[in-house]
Amino acid sequence: MWSAIFSLLAKKREGRIRSLVEMEGNTILQARNISFGYEKSLVLKNIAFSIRGGDFVAIIGPNGSGKTTLLKIILGTLSPMEGDVLLDGKPVLSYAAKERAKKISYVSQEPIFTFPLTVLELVSLGRYVHSNRFKQRPEDGQAVEDALRQTDSFNLRERKLTTLSGGERQKVLIARTLAQTTRFLLMDEPTVHLDIYFQLQILKTLKEICREKKSTVVAVLHDLNLISLFADKALLLKSGECLAFGKVKEVLNEYSIKEAFGVDVATKKDSETEALYFFLRNVLP
């Protein structure tokens, strides 16, 4: 009887969420005038944007501009002073931890490896919210294997985390997030520590899951050229303010980069892909 009641309630809730989403088109995430800060200094000022399902969104900005804070607010582990974030039409803070973890996953900037878990154990932790305390299910094992293969780290699975190189660690951390199989992925500098080959590999993987599974990726990235190649949209932050949000082509140009970073760049359009390439100017005296 209880299960019947629960499923009825769940259906009702689903129906309500669906109607909200339909109202706003394909919007999966909406940030409504977020501000955050400590006493006098604001870290984020009145940030607003909305993200559609299937988008690859890059967050870009100088160090200390509030990128990580913004991610944590989207993730729902930090509550904003003002404004709120809607995930699937519902305030992200109103989700129970487990309910939220089925929708949104996260790669943090500073991973902690105190104790020597193996890679397989680490990636399996991504299945926490789906798996059962008492019995192992084959689909969990499959998801873990898929995630390891997608990040080209299947051969690392027996290694201890404490013995991995920086790049290998980053790959298996991303694998853990992929194993969580959420429709929405948040990544704080996922390509940090990786050489150019693995940066491309990770970004290709993320792009693929955006295209094929209609997943949404929001990632803090620094490389302008990689953002041009892979991201659909970009959000440019400076000192906690959103300088621009929209299609990458519209957000990133000589002027916006100069304004955000104070760095001179020149751009050139790739004739095939129409992506913009960025070149540094006036660097050497």
Binding site: K72, L75, T77, A97, K98, R100, A101, K102, I104, S105, Y106, S108, E110, P111, I112, F113, T114, F115, P116, L117, T118, E121, L122, L125, G126, Y128, V129, R133, K160, T162, T163, R176, Q180, L186
Partner: protein, 325 residues
């Protein structure tokens, strides 16, 4: 046969051997084949509760250490170094001085006060060891050392003031099982297994917490309640151990590390094996304490420290950044 199965078999074998040793050694030589009534009393009323006490206290202390290490992601955390044991012993000392004298009242009063003491110490260590909600390895240890020393000085004051209960108080400093009875054993026998089950039940969540709070939250773990459950549980296990056997150091520090080095850091494996090995280790230490200078006894805390400190120093020297020190 997997490495883990082999591990379990070896651990269980050693447990059996040490338990047999504990039952068959002592100042009186027992003839197991034709037991006299006195032999029976010695075996069932002295040696059996003593062996069980040392097993559950050792297991409880080791498990508390494993929990503290996992909870604070800190390889040097254990009840002793964090000052939690000191809190528990102050609580127990206060209960003794306030005069819970009937056997049953000692049993409940001492353990209850000792639990309060360990919770109080935990709160202090946590308060001084964290900054803006974040806990660093060194800050936590320094805070634990400070709080532990501070509390111990109060125990010393109590000892000077309370002449009558001096003997009972000294017992808490030395630690041991020489006065184990079924009454004290029962405390460990009932509460430690409950603690083991709770620790095992949430071990998956603690695994996820190893990745840091932010990541654990995003993985669906209710971090605040898991942390609270484990902190209280470890304090509880510490206070049970202290009420039964006084202060015994280093079991909680070394045993989890031994298990981690051999079987890895997964708490679902680490917890049960740590409990069993911790129990076995303390049975052996207590047996050594009992026989090495017979007919008198060494305090078991001395034996665990003599075995434990060199291992601890060896770990410290060997550590190459794998544990994030």
């Amino acid at each position: 046969m997997t490495r883990l199965t082999q591990g379990w078999l070896i651990v269980l074998f050693f447990l059996l051997v040490s338990f047999t040793l504990a039952l068959s050694t002592g100042p009186v030589k027992l003839s197991f084949l034709s037991m006299s009534p006195t032999d029976r009393v010695i075996l069932f009323n002295l040696r059996l509760p003593r062996a069980l006490s040392s097993f559950f206290v050792g297991g409880g202390l080791a498990l508390a250490g494993a929990i503290f290490q996992g909870l604070f992601r800190n390889p040097l955390a254990d009840s002793y170094l964090l000052g939690i044991s000191s809190g528990a012993s102050l609580g127990a000392a206060v209960a003794l001085v306030l005069g819970f004298t009937s056997p049953i009242a000692v049993f409940t009063g001492v353990s209850f006060f000792s639990f309060l003491g360990s919770l109080g110490a935990l709160a202090l260590v946590f308060y001084f060891g964290s900054q803006n909600g974040a806990i660093s390895t060194f800050r936590l240890l320094l805070s634990g050392l400070g709080v532990g020393l501070f509390i111990s000085s109060f125990v010393a004051i109590l000892m000077i003031m309370a002449e009558e209960e001096l003997k009972a108080l000294i017992f808490f400093f030395l630690g041991g099982f020489s006065s184990s009875s079924w009454e004290t054993t029962l405390l460990a026998l009932v509460f430690v297994p409950v603690g083991v089950l709770i620790a095992l039940y949430y071990s998956r969540e603690l695994n996820v917490l190893l990745l840091g709070e932010e990541t654990a939250k995003s993985s669906g773990v209710n971090t605040k309640s898991i942390q609270a459950i484990y902190a209280v549980l470890a304090a509880f296990l510490t206070s049970v151990s202290v009420s039964v056997a006084g202060l015994i150091g280093f079991v909680g520090l070394i045993v989890p590390h031994m298990i981690r080095m051999i079987f890895g850091a997964d708490h679902r494996v680490l917890f049960p094996l740590t409990f069993l090995v911790g129990g076995t280790f303390l049975i052996l230490c207590d047996t050594i304490a009992k026989v090495i200078i017979a007919p008198s006894e060494l305090p078991v805390g001395v034996v665990t420290s003599i075995c434990g400190v060199p291992f601890f120093l060896y770990l410290l020297k060997k550590e190459k950044g794998e544990y994030g020190l």
